[in-house]
């Protein structure tokens, strides 16, 4: 009897590739973004099939959810701020398209040949991680890798996020003066019910991370969704006077993480070497603060500009638009 799960895997694989192609070739940019979001959800499903629920969570929440919202916001901006002399995209000749497809196919074949020759289920860190788990302070291997064994990488990852928000604030500035969108009473009921529920789910994901899939990044992304909804519905409008608090929130996670890493050297330890009896507390503390930073930063990346009053001249195009 044919294993139906293999058929499912094959169908899912074909669907992932087909959606990738479709999001590159569809003319309508909005359709391309929707297809991309569906592609992200399908990839997350595929990663579930590969027993990687943590990654599936992160991809669904950050790679697809937040990224999708960012893309939609940018598309909306590009479409509403009209350009008179917008350059028409040149039609791509058939020959070029075929050449591209051929190049793509060859590249895939070459890389796949190298992939097929590599050992699978092969060498890795399984045993090393299993050995060290008991002294890592947490029970979930992925969290142990992220916050203990390779904590330096994770610190630098939140540094990347910090660099992004600084760069974005530097690139764009302005206040949103558009009125709140009319979303109706059903929405208000939904917001009242959902916003607290999302906060609970985000916190739950953070808390469950020490023993099961979840953790700071997934929790932070879910909490960022609250920020997105607040910004979109204008329940919260960023003001210039909020900048100080926002800056502190952006650096909170990175700062605490780096400070703990240095402070533990007090007892003659290496940086990041958490004393065993406090490891769990310290990791939870770091994760909690990092979660706050991630949530605020992702929401700020969505808002996309430093909330500062613009001089008159630039106010015409810089200030007026969405979110």
């Amino acid at each position: 009897m044919i294993d139906t799960m293999v058929i499912f895997d094959l169908l899912l694989a074909v669907a992932v590739v087909a959606l990738a192609v479709a999001s590159m070739t569809t003319r309508d940019m909005f359709a391309a973004i929707v297809l991309f979001v569906v592609f992200g959800l399908l990839s997350a499903l595929a990663w579930v099939r590969l027993s990687a629920p943590d990654v599936a969570l992160a991809e669904a929440a950050i790679g697809t959810g937040v990224t999708g919202a960012l893309l939609l916001r940018t598309l909306h901006h590009v479409q509403t701020v009209e350009r008179k002399a917008a350059p028409e995209p040149l039609p791509v000749p058939m020959g070029v398209q075929i050449a591209n497809a051929a190049f793509c196919g060859l590249l895939t074949l070459g890389l796949a040949a190298a992939f097929a020759g590599a050992p699978r289920g092969g060498p890795g860190f399984d045993l090393l991680v299993a050995d060290a788990m008991s002294i890592s302070g947490v029970d979930h291997p992925v969290t142990a890798v992220l916050l203990n064994f390779r904590a330096y990488d994770t610190l630098m990852e939140v540094v990347v996020l910090l660099a992004a928000v600084i760069a974005v604030w530097q690139i764009e500035r302005g206040l949103s003066d558009a009125p709140a969108p009319a979303l109706g009473e059903v929405w208000q009921g939904f917001a009242r019910l959902t916003l607290p529920a999302i906060v609970v789910v985000g916190t739950y994901l953070l808390w469950v991370g020490s023993s099961a899939p979840g953790g700071a990044f997934q929790g932070g992304a879910v909490l960022a969704a609250v920020g997105l909804l607040l910004l979109l519905s204008r329940l919260y409008v960023p003001r210039p006077s909020h900048r100080g608090a926002a800056r502190v929130a952006f650096v909170l996670g990175t700062g605490a993480f780096a400070a703990v890493a240095l402070l533990v050297t007090g007892g003659g330890r290496m940086p990041f070497e958490y004393p065993l009896e406090h490891a769990k507390t310290l990791i939870l503390l770091i994760e909690g603060l990092v979660t706050i930073s991630i949530a605020v930063t992702l929401a700020a990346l969505f808002h996309g500009r430093e909330p500062v009053a613009l001089p008159e001249r630039a106010a015409g195009t810089g200030g007026r638009d969405d979110a």
């Binding site: 979303l183 109706g184 059903v186 929405w187 939904f190 019910l193 959902t194 529920a197």
Partner: protein, 98 residues
């Protein structure tokens, strides 16, 4: 196969049928409001039946609670989103007419 598994399997299969119906509706119905109608049926009922089936098979009470929560979220979110999409489409239609 235990009777419980049989019942669960039947519920899940029935749920899948609703999803198929929803897809057909979204593809074939003439305008967006009809399509939304088909969509909400698939959402609410299809997922509800699948959730019920999986809930019967689930081992722990914790899992059952989470399955129920998932279903509840989807129903509320889907109802609101359908409403918002319908509002949006209606506004669009009005604006284009005027």
């Amino acid at each position: 196969m235990t009777p419980l598994e049989l019942i669960a399997g039947a519920l899940i299969a029935l749920g899948a049928v609703f999803f198929i119906a929803g897809t057909v509706g979204v593809l074939r119905f003439p305008d967006i409001f009809c399509r939304l109608h088909a969509l909400t049926k698939a959402d609410g009922l299809g997922l509800g039946l699948v959730a019920l089936g999986v809930g019967l098979l689930a081992a722990s009470p914790g899992a059952v609670v989470r399955i129920a929560l998932v279903w509840f979220f989807v129903v509320v979110a889907s109802a609101t989103c359908s409403h918002l999409i319908a509002r949006h489409a209606l506004e669009r239609a009005r604006r284009e007419r005027s």
